[in-house]
């Protein structure tokens, strides 16, 4: 029982220790290295013995290390090395390992040695803890901002991961953890069918190696449990390797409240626009009415004076002459008032320039969106090298926005799920003009309505004033083109318009 461990040799104990240990002489040479140290540093016992300890120090710290070692030798005490600093040890194959280092002075047979211990486990633990803290703060930050991160792999399929992500907006909207846990996804919300195409095209755009890699899309999700509809905004960036997208990273945010507010503002805007348009129409009509009614009143009175003069026994030729002259003057005046008014209304609008019709189409989509007509999926078929057209940009934009607006309103009214509007731009070789086609999948127009659709003040909308198509047609014609309704298409309504080329 007495001293059972006395026979345990220093070497056995030294090799059994889990931490890497070195014994260094006062000249800085390695005199002993335990098994853990050899394994950590990648040397054999033969290789490491007698090496200068600075061999294990990254070269940028070597000069400093020699100074520190000499200072330690003058005042040796047991302490951790380089407190508070990042310490690294250089392995044989050139890797730097982050470690904590303990220094213990040992005197043996009048000679000073230093026992060096590398603590890799504590170091790893502290790194892990730092990572955990950082992840935790990120999680809290995301929770506070209502964000959910996503990370798609190379396939970019609408995968389980995506379902997990969407589970955040599922039955328990407060539980972010739900999306990280392995939920089976049965109660997870689904992407609104009308929006899946928009989302898919945004992913396609982001992962296009020739593009910017930006991912930015808004879409609706439906909670399968209670049918709730929420708007979300996804923002992210694709990562590329060897010319191929490999990952898509980003965050998703609930923007339902913001959408409701936006919608309200747009409705108000649209209402104001309609009121304003109505007021303008009323003012214009009232100005025209006044200009015409005044001479009409005089003509009517003069005519009756003339009639009365004729009925007298002795014809009152003086009155008759004056009345008839008055009639002529007033009829002429009415005509010239109208001409003046019309030329005033047309004044200033007609500056024509060379336009890239493809760009005007794209701009019209943005304008329509800003007016609140964004709930459709545009299918663009543009002719990339089409010749420039000659036209007034504002007026051509107005034609396109009017057509888009009509299409969206038709789709909305009919409550049709698939809301594609296709816009085709091509060269019509027969007439040598640019030919634009706007086609919706709405209910279309019946024969009776189609007959009147271009008449001013004809409308099928509860709130419209019926000037949109009449104005659009006038504008197309003012720009040297034409606008018509396709009579043969059975699905939806299809409008065409043409514009002359600049050359």
């Amino acid at each position: 029982m007495a001293y059972p461990l006395q026979s345990l040799s220093f070497q056995t104990l030294f090799d059994a220790v889990a931490d890497a240990m070195l014994l260094i002489s006062n000249t800085g040479r390695i005199v002993e290295a335990n098994a853990a140290a050899l394994s950590l540093l990648g040397y054999t016992a033969q290789e490491i013995l007698d090496l200068k300890v600075e061999t294990l120090v990254p070269s940028r710290y070597q000069a400093q290390h020699i100074k520190y070692r000499k200072k330690f030798a003058q005042n040796p005490e047991k302490r951790p090395m380089g407190t508070g600093n990042e310490l690294s040890v250089l392995t044989k194959d050139g890797n730097e390992l982050e470690v904590d280092i303990g220094l213990s002075p040992i005197n043996h047979q009048e000679k000073p040695y230093t026992l060096v211990t590398f603590y890799t486990v504590t170091k790893r633990k502290s790194v892990e803890q730092a990572l955990r803290i950082s992840e935790e703060s990120l999680r809290l930050a995301k929770k506070a901002a209502g964000l959910v991160a996503f990370d798609f792999d190379a396939s970019f399929k609408v995968s389980d991961d995506n379902e997990q992500l969407l589970a955040y907006w599922g039955a328990e909207p407060n539980s972010i953890e739900q999306h990280t846990g392995k939920n089976n996804g049965s109660a997870a919300p689904v992407i609104h069918p009308e929006d899946s195409a928009i989302r898919a095209s945004a992913i396609q755009l982001a992962t296009d190696p020739t593009g910017s890699g930006d991912f930015n899309v808004e879409y609706r999700i439906i909670n399968r449990t209670n049918g709730d509809l929420r708007w979300v905004s996804a923002i992210g960036r694709a990562h590329f390797k060897d010319g191929r997208a490999t990952r898509l990273l980003g965050v998703v945010r609930d923007i339902t409240e913001q959408k409701i507010l936006e919608k309200k503002l747009q409705d108000q805007h649209a209402e104001t626009e309609t009121l304003f348009a109505k007021e303008v129409a009323t003012q214009t009509a009232s100005a025209i009415a006044h200009e015409i009614n005044q001479p009409l009143t005089a003509i009517s009175a003069y005519s009756e004076v003339a009639l009365h003069a004729l009925k007298q026994k002795a014809i009152d030729s003086a009155s008759l002459k004056r009345a008839l002259e008055g009639c002529v003057t007033q009829a002429q005046r009415a005509g010239s008032s109208l001409h003046e008014l019309l030329s005033f209304l047309h004044k200033g609008d007609m500056i024509r320039e060379q336009l890239n019709i493809n760009n005007v189409v794209k701009e019209a989509l943005m304008v329509a969106k800003s007016y609140g007509y964004s709930d459709f999926y545009p299918v663009l078929q543009l002719e990339s090298n089409i010749k420039p057209v000659l036209g007034n940009k504002t007026q051509v934009l107005k034609i396109l926005v009017n057509l888009l607006r009509n299409a969206v309103e038709a789709i909305r009214e009919a409550e049709i799920a698939s809301s594609e509007i296709s816009i085709t731009v091509r060269t019509n070789a027969n007439i040598n003009m640019a030919h634009v086609t706007v086609q919706d999948v709405g209910p279309g127009l019946n024969h009776e309505i189609a007959k009147h659709i271009f008449e001013p003040f004809f409308t099928t909308k509860a709130k419209g004033i019926g000037m949109g198509l009449a104005i659009s047609r006038t504008l197309a014609e003012a720009n040297g083109g034409q606008l018509w309704l396709d009579p043969d298409i059975k699905i939806g309504a299809t409008f065409h318009f043409t514009l002359p080329f600049a050359s």
Partner: protein, 205 residues
């Protein structure tokens, strides 16, 4: 006193309308005068004028309603017919409330215009006759002396001469003389007649 025959006054900023309507009215042998603005009419029109005014509702500077208000302010009791391009209900109601006799929408038919003008002129004549008898009555009453006025007040309340004499502290004979003078000055035949004249002059019981 200057006498103007009953006349139709046309006030419209539009020459052709003034001219054609004036011709039409002249064909009926009704005196007619035309003015190109409210101000031109106000400058020319005597307070004693009679007949009627055809006023364009919508005129620059002073419009029809403003002219109507100005005439009322000046005690010109001329029946007013408004002419309007588009006779909407609120404006016509406003004009009628302010005393317009009629509201015509352009273009206006001869028959309609003439009948409205004739009705307005008769209205004017009636007003003028009433006005004349009122002025006459006021003149009669004003010609009485203070004592005669007191006697008249009591007489039209039905007091006998004896009671009047006692109330005023004068002799029965003096009352009889005053009464004879009152009847002479007012041209009244009896007390009831006197009461009518007093009432017309604006005297209340």
């Amino acid at each position: 006193m200057k006498t103007t025959p009953p006349t139709v006054y046309i006030i419209d900023d539009e020459h052709a309308i003034r001219d054609s309507l004036a011709l039409m009215i002249a064909q009926e042998n009704i005196p007619v005068m035309a003015f190109e603005s409210a101000q031109a009419f106000l400058d020319a029109c005597p307070q004693e004028c009679s007949g009627c005014a055809i006023i364009d509702y919508r005129m620059p500077d002073m419009d029809g309603l403003e002219l109507q208000a100005e005439l009322t302010k000046r005690n010109v009791t001329l029946p007013i017919i408004f002419l309007t391009g588009h006779g909407n209900i609120p404006t016509s109601v406003k004009a009628m409330k302010a005393g317009a006799i009629d509201f015509l929408t352009k273009p206006v038919r001869r028959e309609k215009l003439i009948s409205v003008v004739v009705a307005a002129m008769m209205e004017s004549e009636k007003t003028r006759a009433e006005d004349a008898s009122y002025k006459e009555a006021v003149k009669c009453i004003a010609s009485l002396t203070e004592r005669e006025y007191d006697v008249m007040l009591l007489a039209i309340q039905g007091y006998h001469n004896k009671d009047i004499a006692r109330q005023l502290g004068i002799s029965h004979r003096t009352v009889e003389i005053h009464k004879s003078n009152i009847m002479h000055k007012t041209g009244a035949n009896h007390v009831l007649d006197l009461a009518r004249i007093a009432h017309k002059s604006g005297l209340k019981e």
